[in-house]
């Protein structure tokens, strides 16, 4: 007789990504490369995290919002990043994206699972201002506890991004990452995805708190070169220490 492994809880991770006209060219290609590596990071995490199955779904938006193939959250193990494109002149319809995401955030739609689903992670990214009224869509979404209690983090990329909008979408200004340029965004999206996913996979029912803000904070600490907690004691040597060869190895 062999005991069956524990059924793994589903952890849905949603990306809501801006592909408006201003993202055309290098920007969207940087986004694609960064997301390929982010998916790889999440695959590694899933491989070492036995009790959670990470499922990804990607919603990109410009004049409208659309899901990346296959259009439902899939196990990160089987997920293939389809490169996004951005067309000149396209708008930033964040409202449409929030509406679309909210319509799928229910136990009957994307969060349907026999083994139970954890509260989702939602990652927003934009480099501009919404060209439709996103406020009404957000108000609607906030009535859905699966949106409200999700671990929400957001990226405002570049100098012309609406930081206030991202703060309202995440419900917390601490959950907003201001990436002055794409390079910063590229290095942070991986870390934030990792910390947010970690936070969500450890969360319990009722433990709503401020996971988005905490995740961003954790990522910032990890990204910082300073390591905060190190014991400070003096060097101690015992016995005879050999004379080491210090010729530069490289």
């Amino acid at each position: 007789m062999k005991p069956r492994g524990l059924a793994r809880r589903i952890l849905p991770v949603f990306y809501v990504l801006d592909t408006s006209g201003s993202m055309r060219g290098y920007a969207v290609e940087c986004l694609n490369s960064a997301m390929e590596e982010t998916v790889r990071t999440l695959k590694n995490m899933a491989a070492h995290n036995g009790d959670v199955q990470i499922r990804i779904a990607v919603l990109s938006f410009d004049n409208e919002a659309r899901w990346m193939d296959p259009g439902v959250p899939v196990d990160v193990e089987d997920f293939v990043w389809e490169p996004l494109t951005a067309e000149l002149g396209n708008q930033t319809c964040m409202g449409a994206a929030v509406r679309e995401l909210n319509s799928k955030l229910s136990e009957d739609a994307f969060l349907c699972s026999l083994t139970g689903s954890l509260m989702p992670v939602i990652v927003f990214m934009t480099d501009g201002f919404a060209s439709d009224g996103y406020e009404a869509a957000l108000e609607d979404a906030l009535r859905n506890h699966l949106f409200r209690d999700a671990t929400r983090v957001g990226f405002a990329v570049g100098s012309s991004a609406d930081v206030k909008m991202i703060a309202r979408l995440t419900g917390n200004s601490r959950a907003v990452v201001r990436a002055g340029d794409l390079d910063t965004f590229v290095s942070l999206i991986k870390l934030v995805s990792e910390t947010a996913t970690q936070a969500a996979s450890l969360s319990h029912v009722g433990d709503v708190g401020d996971r988005g803000g905490k995740a961003v904070e954790d990522a910032m600490i990890a990204n910082d070169d300073e390591v905060t907690e190190w014991i400070a004691s003096e060097d101690v040597h015992r016995g005879k220490v050999p004379i080491w060869d210090m010729n530069d190895p490289i």
Binding site: E37, K190, V236, D245
Partner: protein
């Protein structure tokens, strides 16, 4: 040639400087390369055969953009300035390739040899790191082939040239590449070069640098005439990996390619798996399924740590620190110590390296930073020391349970029971050192 530049010709550039032609260094399909004087320094000038450029306007626009954006890393011989048009032609200025660097082609043929197999791996690591950064910035290279890489065989350092075709991923520059390095979808003209075809070409280059032969030239390519139709089938629609585990019909020829199988068998499993994935039927025909540069980077960094030198001078791979008989002298090669990480075990011997990408998931530009290096002692041939190469201190626990901080450039003797906490991207990474079974000091 009509547009050949004479010595002492002076041409002005986009940034208002001038180049003075000194001598011709070489020629290629797209143009010739000259040594020039530029802002008081010796530089190289690539002078185009303009009739070889299909869309001149967009080519010049792209070149200008690359110049203003600047080099992604120091590993690229990046264009730094562009000349004006003189008698219908023009060129760009870049750094000269320094002494000691050889064309990768020469290293593949064997005219020049690497100082050691570890230097080969170093070269591969440097190549994938440079491409990880290039692709991360939204560029694609378009024409990866051995002719575009200069490698210093003594150090494994790499310089990547011909960056005039580098462009935003997805833009067409009219370049298709070099047939044997082209991805199948480019050979069959289903697509133009992009980041994904770069990844196939990179895998071909890595395979050739580490194993020698071309990964798609097996039994099907020997005893036959490699005419253009045959080559299109070999690299294009019928591409099949020589080591494909499911279809052996293109396996290496037992006589003509006898060395390949034994070399392949010495590769660590993690690297074999990566090559098998990169040249699987799925990845050959679906560009989105190819391994990322980050995958190569972590596997190669691990491989780098697993290669040890036998007493006879031959290098062998001790995967996960396991002792292995040397394929040259048959002696057992065994690292004196092993370093036990949470997810892997590495042998510890002279010149073992630990890179930052082995301690978590650092920023792209920091991935290849050397964090730890195993050094020897001048006065004790049996002592091994672990040197902190990082600016962050480590917490060290000796086997006597003494704790102390090890700062940059300080060394701790490697002993049974030594524990070190190195700062990783997600908190300290704990490493335990153990004496390896069957110690033979090399």
């Amino acid at each position: 040639m009509a547009n050949e530049l004479r010595p002492h010709t002076i041409i002005s550039t986009m940034y208002g400087a001038t180049v003075r032609v000194l001598r011709k260094l070489g020629g290629g399909g797209q143009g010739d390369v000259y040594e020039v004087e530029y802002r008081g320094k010796r530089k190289a000038l690539k002078w185009y055969h303009v009739n070889k450029i299909s869309n001149l306007n967009s080519f010049v626009k792209n070149l200008k953009r690359n110049i203003t954006m600047g080099s992604p890393t120091q590993d690229f011989l990046w264009p730094i300035d562009m000349t004006e048009f003189v008698s219908g032609s023009f060129g760009y200025v870049m750094d000269l390739c320094p002494e000691g660097y050889e064309e990768a082609k020469e290293l593949l043929i064997g005219n020049v040899r690497f100082a050691s197999y570890r230097r080969r791996i170093d070269a591969c690591l440097n190549i994938v790191s440079a491409f990880r950064i290039l692709h991360g910035k939204g560029f694609s290279y378009q024409d990866v082939n051995a002719g575009n890489f200069f490698i210093d065989p003594r150090t494994g350092k790499v310089l990547i040239c011909d960056n005039d075709n580098v462009t935003t991923n997805g833009e067409e520059m009219g370049v298709l590449g070099t047939l044997s390095y082209m991805a199948p979808e480019i050979v069959t003209r289903k697509s133009f070069p992009n980041k994904y075809s770069d990844r196939h070409s990179l895998a071909v280059l890595l395979f050739r640098l580490l194993l020698g032969p071309h990964p798609l030239e097996g039994a099907r390519s020997v005893n036959t005439v490699l005419d253009s139709q045959m080559r299109r089938s070999l690299y294009g629609e019928n591409a099949l990996f020589v080591m494909d585990p499911h279809d052996r019909s293109n396996a290496p020829d037992p006589i003509a390619q006898e060395g390949l199988v034994s070399l392949w068998n010495q590769m660590p499993e993690h690297l074999k798996k990566l090559f098998t994935n990169a040249f699987s039927q799925e990845a050959l025909h679906d560009p989105l399924c190819r391994p990322l540069e980050a995958d190569w980077q972590s596997s190669l960094a691990r491989f780098r740590s697993e290669v040890l030198t036998c007493g006879c001078g031959n290098e062998v791979c001790c995967e996960s620190g396991m002792p292995v008989p040397c394929d040259a002298c048959k002696q057992l090669v065994c690292a004196p110590f092993v370093a036990v990480f949470r997810e892997m075990v590495l042998p510890v011997a002279l010149d073992t390296r630990i890179y930052r990408c082995q301690l978590g998931n650092p920023g792209i530009s920091k991935a290849l930073d050397l964090v730890a290096y195993v050094t020897g002692a001048i006065d004790d041939p049996y002592a091994l020391g672990l040197r902190n190469m990082d600016s962050e201190p480590w917490e060290v626990h000796t086997r006597w349970n003494e704790r102390h901080l090890l700062r940059q450039d300080e060394v701790v003797q490697v002993e049974e029971g030594l524990r070190v906490a190195m700062p990783g991207t997600r908190g300290p990474v704990k490493v335990r050192f153990e004496r390896n079974a069957q110690t033979v000091r090399k």
